[in-house]
C-alpha cells in the first residue's frame, strides 16, 4: 500500500459517494419543476403539495451533492498534482465553465426558490426552479466533457510535457462526450424516477389518494423514456469503445485474443455467437481485439508495462450495470402497462416499486466502475499513466488522514441522510393549506 493506492481509493470512495446524490439532483430537480409547472397550469392543490413534498426531499439530497462535489474540485490538485499540471490547460476549461455557467445558476436560483415562495411573483418563482434544474443538467454536460477527454483526448497537442488545448470546440463536442452525456443524464433521470416510484409505492400501499397515483404515473413515464435513452446511447458507447478504448471493451467481455465474429459472453460459459461483434460494430463478422493481443501491441507502442485493467471488476460491473438498469426500465414499462387507462396500482406492484430506488443506483455505480476502472492504467488514455499522475510531494500519512476523515464523515452523513429522507417520506405531504400570500414578511419555508 503506497500513497498512489490510497489516493486512488480516496478518489474512488469520494466520487462514487458523490454520485449517489448527483443523479437524484439532476433528475429530481426537473421532476419537481415539472410538478410546480403542473400546479401552475392546472391550479390543482395536490400538485402544490407534491411540489413541496418532493422539493423537501430534493433539498435534503441536494445539500449532500453540493458538499461532496466541492471535494472533487480540490482533489485533483491535492492528490493528483502531476495529472493536474499535465492536463489543466485542457481539462480545466470545462471545469471553469461548469462553475461559471452551471453552479452559479444552480445554487443562486435554488436559494431564490427556497426562500422566494412568498416574495416572488408566481411565474418568476416557477422560473427559478427551472433555472436551478437547468443548471444541474448543464453541470453534467461540462464535467462529462472533461471526463470524456480523459478517455478519448481530442483537440490538444503535447508541448514540453504538458497538454496544450488547440481546439475547445473539439473538446466540447468530443464523440465520447456526446455519447456519454445522454447516457449519464438519462441514467440520472432513471435514478430520480426510481426514487419517486419507491416513495409513491410506499404511499400507494397506505392510501388511495389520487395524488400518489398521478405522481407515480409521471415517474413511470419519465423512467421508461429515460431508460430508452440510456439503452440507445449505451449502444453508441459500445461502438465508440471499439474504436477508442478497445482494451476496455475487451476486458468488459473477457475477450483475451483478437476474434473475428466475437461472441457475447453472458456469464462465463454461456456465449451468444457473433453478438459482441454485432453490438460493437453493427457487423457480425467484424474482428474484436482481445486483451492479450492488445497488451502485446501496447507494449510495442508505449514500452514495457501492464496495460490491462482489472479483468474481474470490469467484466462484472458491466453485467451488473446492464441487469440492474434493464430491471428498472422493465419495471417501469410493466407498471405503465398494468396501470393503463386509470387501472389502479396492484399492491404487489407498489411493493415492487420500492426496488426502483436501489436498482438503478447499483446500475449507475457499476457503470462508473466499468468506465473508470476500465480506463486504467491510464488517467489520460495513451498520454498519462495513473502511476505518473499522483502528487509526488504528498505523503502516505497525509492521504491516509484525508481518506480516513472523508470516509468517517461521509459514513456518518450517509446514515443521517437516510434517516432524514425516511422521516420526511413517512411524514407525507403537508395537509394544512398554504397560508394566503398576503404580505407575509417571513419566508415560511425551510429554515
Amino acid at each position: 500500500m503506497d500513497a498512489l493506492d490510497l489516493a486512488r481509493w480516496q478518489f474512488g470512495v469520494t466520487t462514487v459517494y458523490h454520485f449517489l446524490f448527483v443523479p437524484l439532483t439532476i433528475g429530481l430537480g426537473v421532476f419537481v419543476a415539472g410538478l410546480q409547472t403542473a400546479w401552475h397550469r392546472t391550479g390543482k392543490e395536490h400538485y402544490l403539495k407534491l411540489t413541496k413534498f418532493f422539493g423537501k426531499l430534493f433539498l435534503i439530497n441536494f445539500a449532500m451533492g453540493v458538499v461532496t462535489g466541492i471535494v472533487q474540485e480540490f482533489q485533483f490538485g491535492m492528490n493528483w498534482s502531476e495529472y493536474s499540471t499535465f492536463v489543466g490547460d485542457v481539462f480545466g476549461a470545462p471545469l471553469a465553465m461548469e462553475a461559471l455557467l452551471a453552479f452559479f445558476m444552480e445554487s443562486t436560483f435554488l436559494g431564490l426558490w427556497i426562500f422566494g415562495w412568498d416574495r416572488l411573483p408566481k411565474k418568476v418563482h416557477l422560473a427559478t426552479i427551472w433555472a436551478a434544474a437547468i443548471g444541474s443538467n448543464l453541470s453534467a454536460y461540462f464535467i462529462l466533457a472533461a471526463n470524456a477527454w480523459m478517455k478519448h483526448p481530442v483537440g490538444y497537442e503535447v508541448v514540453d510535457g504538458k497538454a496544450r488545448m488547440t481546439d475547445l470546440w473539439a473538446v466540447l463536442t468530443n464523440s465520447t462526450a456526446l455519447a456519454q452525456v445522454p447516457h449519464v443524464v438519462g441514467s440520472a433521470f432513471v435514478v430520480a424516477g426510481g426514487f419517486v416510484l419507491a416513495v409513491c409505492g410506499y404511499w400507494l400501499l397506505r392510501t388511495r389518494a389520487e395524488m400518489w397515483r398521478s405522481a407515480a404515473r409521471a415517474a413511470l413515464v419519465m423512467t421508461a423514456i429515460a431508460g430508452a435513452v440510456v439503452a440507445g446511447t449505451g449502444d453508441m458507447s459500445a461502438r465508440l469503445l471499439h474504436e477508442q478504448q478497445p482494451m476496455k471493451l475487451a476486458a468488459a467481455e473477457g475477450l483475451t485474443h483478437d476474434t473475428q465474429g466475437a461472441p457475447f459472453t453472458v456469464v462465463p460459459g454461456i456465449e451468444i455467437p457473433k453478438l459482441l461483434s454485432l453490438l460493437s460494430t453493427h457487423d457480425p463478422d467484424a474482428t474484436i481485439q482481445g486483451t492479450e493481443d492488445l497488451q502485446t501491441r501496447f507494449e510495442q507502442q508505449f514500452g514495457p508495462g501492464d496495460y490491462r485493467p482489472d479483468p474481474t471488476v470490469v467484466f462484472w460491473s458491466f453485467r451488473v450495470m446492464i441487469v440492474f438498469g434493464l430491471a428498472t426500465v422493465g419495471l417501469s414499462v410493466l407498471g405503465l402497462w398494468l396501470t393503463r387507462r386509470r387501472r389502479p396500482f396492484p399492491a404487489w406492484l407498489s411493493r415492487a416499486l420500492l426496488l426502483a430506488l436501489p436498482l438503478p443506483l447499483v446500475a449507475v455505480i457499476a457503470g462508473w466502475l466499468l468506465s473508470e476502472i476500465g480506463r486504467q492504467p491510464w488517467t489520460v488514455t495513451g498520454e498519462l499513466l495513473t502511476a505518473a499522475s499522483v502528487s509526488p510531494g504528498v505523503s502516505l500519512a497525509e492521504v491516509a488522514t484525508s481518506l480516513t476523515l472523508f470516509t468517517l464523515l461521509y459514513g456518518a452523513l450517509a446514515v443521517a441522510e437516510v434517516v432524514l429522507l425516511a422521516r420526511h417520506v413517512r411524514g407525507g405531504v403537508e395537509e394544512r393549506p398554504p397560508a394566503p400570500a398576503v404580505e407575509r414578511r417571513e419566508p415560511s419555508l425551510m429554515y
Binding site: M64, F74, G77, G92, F103, F104, F406, L413, L420, M446
Partner: protein, 292 residues
C-alpha cells in the same frame, strides 16, 4: 493575457472572501447573538438564500486556477494538503448543517456543524494564504487568526445590518467586541506586508469600528467589505511576483489559446452571474424579522 487571468483569479478569490466572509461570521455568531430558537433561525436566515451561491465563488476561483494556472493550482493544494482537507471537512459540515437544520427534530448537531464548519475554513484560509507568502508556523497562525477575526467582524456587521430588535443589538455588541480584537491582529498581520493597500485595509477596519459604534451599519459593512478587498489586493500583489515558492506566473500559466477562450467565456458569463446574484440580494434586501 497571463496578467489578465491573474487579476481575474484575484477578483474571484476576493469575491469569495467578501461574500463567504460574512457567511462564516454569521455561522459562528448565530448561537451567540440568539437567545431563542426563533432568533437563531432568523440569524441564519440572513444568509439562507445566498450562502450557497457565495460558496460557488471559491469553486469558480479554484476551477479558474486549474484552467489558467494548472501548476499553481496543483502546487498550492498539494502543498497545503492537510489544511485544505480540514477546510473541505468544514465546508461539508457547514453546508449540510445549514440545509438540514430546518428539517431535523433537534438542530443541535446542525448548529455545531455550522459553527465548527464556519470557523475552520475562516481560520485555515488565512493560514494557507499566509503560508503562500511567508515561511513558518507563526506567520500561518497569525494569518489564520486575522482572517478568523475579520470574518467574525464582517459577519457581526452583516447581522446587525440584516436583523431587528435584540438580535440586531447583540450583533452590534459582538461587532464592537470583534473589532477590538480584529484591529490589533490586523496591525500585526498586515504590517509585515507594509504596502499601501495593507495600510489602507487597517484604516478601513478602524473606520468600520467607528461606524458600527455610531450605528451606521450599512457604511460599516461597506468598510469591512472594503478592508477585505484591500487585503486581497495586498496579498495578490505579493503573489504576482511568485504565486508559489520557485514558480513564476508564466511557468504556471496555460497556453495563449486556452486563456483567450477562457476570456471570452468569462466575458460573456460573468455579467450574468453578477446580475442574478445581485438580484438575489435585492429580493432579500429587507431585514429579517424574528417570527413571533
Amino acid at each position: 493575457m497571463i496578467e489578465l487571468w491573474f487579476v481575474i483569479i484575484a477578483f474571484l478569490w476576493t469575491g469569495y472572501f467578501v461574500l463567504e466572509g460574512f457567511d462564516f461570521g454569521v455561522g459562528m455568531l448565530a448561537p451567540l447573538v440568539s437567545r431563542t430558537p426563533a432568533e437563531q433561525r432568523a440569524s441564519l436566515q440572513t444568509i439562507g438564500p445566498v450562502w450557497d451561491g457565495n460558496e460557488v465563488w471559491v469553486i469558480t476561483a479554484v476551477g479558474a486556477m486549474f484552467a489558467a494556472f494548472p501548476a499553481w493550482y496543483a502546487g498550492m493544494f498539494s502543498a497545503f494538503y492537510l489544511p485544505v482537507t480540514l477546510i473541505l471537512a468544514g465546508l461539508i459540515m457547514r453546508g449540510v448543517g445549514l440545509e438540514w437544520r430546518g428539517k431535523v427534530t433537534s438542530p443541535l448537531w446542525c448548529d455545531l456543524g455550522i459553527v465548527v464548519g464556519s470557523a475552520l475554513p475562516a481560520f485555515l484560509w488565512g493560514a494557507v494564504f499566509a503560508g503562500l507568502l511567508f515561511d513558518g508556523a507563526p506567520a500561518a497562525l497569525l494569518g489564520g487568526a486575522f482572517t478568523l477575526a475579520v470574518c467574525v467582524l464582517h459577519g457581526a456587521v452583516f447581522l446587525a445590518l440584516k436583523t431587528t430588535g435584540p438580535v440586531r443589538r447583540r450583533a452590534r455588541v459582538a461587532a464592537l467586541a470583534a473589532a477590538g480584537v480584529t484591529v490589533p491582529v490586523a496591525v500585526a498581520a498586515l504590517s509585515s506586508l507594509g504596502t499601501f493597500p495593507a495600510l489602507a485595509a487597517m484604516a478601513a477596519l478602524a473606520a468600520a469600528t467607528a461606524l458600527i459604534w455610531r450605528r451606521r451599519e450599512g457604511w460599516a459593512f461597506a468598510a469591512t467589505a472594503g478592508a477585505i478587498v484591500l487585503v486581497m489586493v495586498a496579498v495578490f500583489m505579493e503573489l504576482r511576483v511568485s504565486p508559489l515558492p520557485g514558480l513564476t506566473l508564466a511557468e504556471a500559466a496555460s497556453g495563449e489559446y486556452t486563456l483567450t477562450m477562457l476570456s471570452w467565456i468569462g466575458l460573456i458569463t460573468v455579467p450574468f452571474v453578477l446580475v442574478y446574484q445581485g438580484w438575489t440580494y435585492w429580493v432579500f434586501r429587507k431585514r429579517v424579522q424574528v417570527a413571533g
